[in-house]
């Protein structure tokens, strides 16, 4: 009986590994194209020899993007926007998600509905701009940080994850005379580390990738984040095609290289968060 189980488990395990490998290869192929393409010289695109891996490696596309005098400044701006922005996001979102996870809270349902409502209805770009303008936030990073301070979607999902913390734990803490704030910081947050890690990375990514708020609310070109710079380097104004624009600007490699430049920092930081949502923390805390 148990031997049969073992075999079944092995078979299952084999099946899982096999399937994941197949899926990963299928997902990876276009990514290899992006990476390979970003390194391919223009001539390989033209002769249609280029498919996945370039015969010759050319860093021209990267040089073109890195060479921009504003690159380092834009990178710095992106880091500031992302860093502080994510901190504000997590502060606002966590407090609210934790509060709303209390099933006994009077008025919880109204606020929940109010949050959901904002996911469905939005007043559009103009009124929001008027408010940002009236609050004197134009041309300041506060516009970006505050306008996107909470993603209702992440808030609702995070609230769900908080709500999954066993009531007994909370009761036990109550017995010990813990106030709500201490409960949050010493019990709920450590327990919800996977959720915290998940939404931190989600917020980081959304700040890192966004350019729309920046071009809308910022005027000062020195404040622009990396995404705005990359976008402008890629989208060239067609009717001003200058005979003097570097040849590389014509190459399909440039937009692909921009993707790689965007992804690499995220891939580097991802593992730091990954370890939190890949293993549970609950067991330890229950036993302590």
């Amino acid at each position: 009986m148990s031997k049969f189980k073992l075999n079944e488990d092995k078979l299952f395990s084999f099946f899982v590994y096999f399937l994941i490998t197949v899926i990963t290869i299928l997902v990876a192929l276009p990514l290899v194209y992006v990476l390979g393409g970003s390194l391919a010289p223009r001539s390989e695109f033209v002769t249609r020899n280029f498919f996945l891996i370039p015969k010759e490696i050319s860093l021209d596309a990267y040089k073109y993007l890195f060479n921009s005098s504003e690159f380092l400044n834009a990178l710095k701006n992106s880091i500031i926007i992302t860093g502080i922005g994510t901190f504000i996001n997590m502060l606002f979102t966590t407090l609210m998600a934790y509060g709303l996870s209390k099933r006994w809270l009077v008025g919880r349902s109204i606020i929940n509905f109010m949050v959901l409502f904002t996911m469905l209805f939005s007043g559009g770009m103009i009124p929001l701009y008027l408010i940002v303008n009236n609050l004197g936030l134009l041309d300041s990073y506060w516009s970006i940080w505050l306008v996107g301070a909470i993603s209702p979607f992440y808030l609702i999902v995070m609230r769900g994850l908080f709500g999954n913390i066993p009531d007994e734990l909370e009761e036990a803490a109550k017995m010990d005379g813990c106030g709500e704030w201490r409960l949050l910081f010493s019990i709920a947050l450590p327990l919800a580390r996977p959720a915290m890690a998940t939404f931190t990375i989600f917020y980081i990514v959304s700040h890192w990738n966004s350019y729309f708020d920046a071009i809308l609310y910022l005027h000062d070109q020195d404040k622009m984040p990396l995404q705005v710079l990359l976008r402008r380097l890629i989208i060239m104004e067609e009717d001003f095609f200058d005979p003097h624009i570097a040849d590389i600007a014509f190459s399909q490699a440039v937009p692909l290289a921009a993707i790689i430049i965007t992804i690499v920092p995220l891939i580097i930081i991802f593992p730091f968060f990954q370890k939190y949502f890949n293993k549970g923390f609950l067991l330890g805390s229950v036993k302590d």
Binding site: Y17, G99, K102, V106, L128, I131, V147, L155, N278, G280
Partner: protein, 324 residues
Amino acid sequence: MGNRFKKTAKPIQTASIPKVKNAREKRKKMIKRGLPIYLMLLPGVLYFLIFNYGPLIGLTVAFMEYDPFQGFLNSEWVGLEHFRRLFEERIFLDLLSNTLILGIYDIIFYFPAPIILALLLNEIRLRWFKSSVQTILYTPHFVSWVVIVGITAVLFSTQTGAVNNLLENNGYNRIELLTDSQYFRPLWVIHNIWNGMGWDAIIYLAAMSSVNPELYHAARVDGASRIQMTWHITLPSIMYVVIIMLILRMGGFMDLSYTHILLLQNPLNLNVSEVFDTYIYRAGILGGQFGYTTAVGLFKSMVGLILVMVANTIAKRMGKEGVY
């Protein structure tokens, strides 16, 4: 929740006054207990009021001939004129059915994909394998639709696509993947899965990591196989997240990524690819028809609201927790 409470509370109210007092006092007590929590909610609530509810004033535009120099109150009011135009639109039913069909495709084919992926990933024990695979799987999230559609064209365009050249060289017919309207919906869904599956799986993985390992221990002692544990422990344990995600997805049922569809759209697949979002785009190109496009958006939001409310009610009837 509140409704049900009200229904049972009413008869009691007329029957015995002391109990009402009791209930009121209890409520007061609960509010008092909640004070620190309300404090926690305050920044968030203020945020939503200022940056989400404030701009809702912009919805008045759906009932006016908006003029930026007159603003949201003084522009000319036209009542339900924009809505009338939408409902009388010759292709309204086509738009509705195309949009709904894509929404259904999304729920049936896309929605389960990240869940299945997360369940599979959860079964992987090799650390290095798991983390590298995961990194690869979530990376497509950062590739824009322009590039995704571009790569599809490089591979599948009828004239020069690499795959099509390969097919023809081996004596097969070329596949008109981008121009034949029958491929539009499957292609759209496959793009979505490629782009979002790994990313959305992260949420489910986070939920799985909160599952109490003792449950697995107990099951193993009882002789459960891994496939049984996945089915009977892991899946039910993340069901609440699945339900939340599903309800939220219903709210965005009519919201399709218009850049993606617009990029895939061409005259030969227009009959299946024209949806509200691409229609709005076309209508708004000229004349800045804010009034009309806002009205169409409002209509979509209303449909989303109804779907969310229905889904939420069903979830609650089934004894699950909804989103509000």
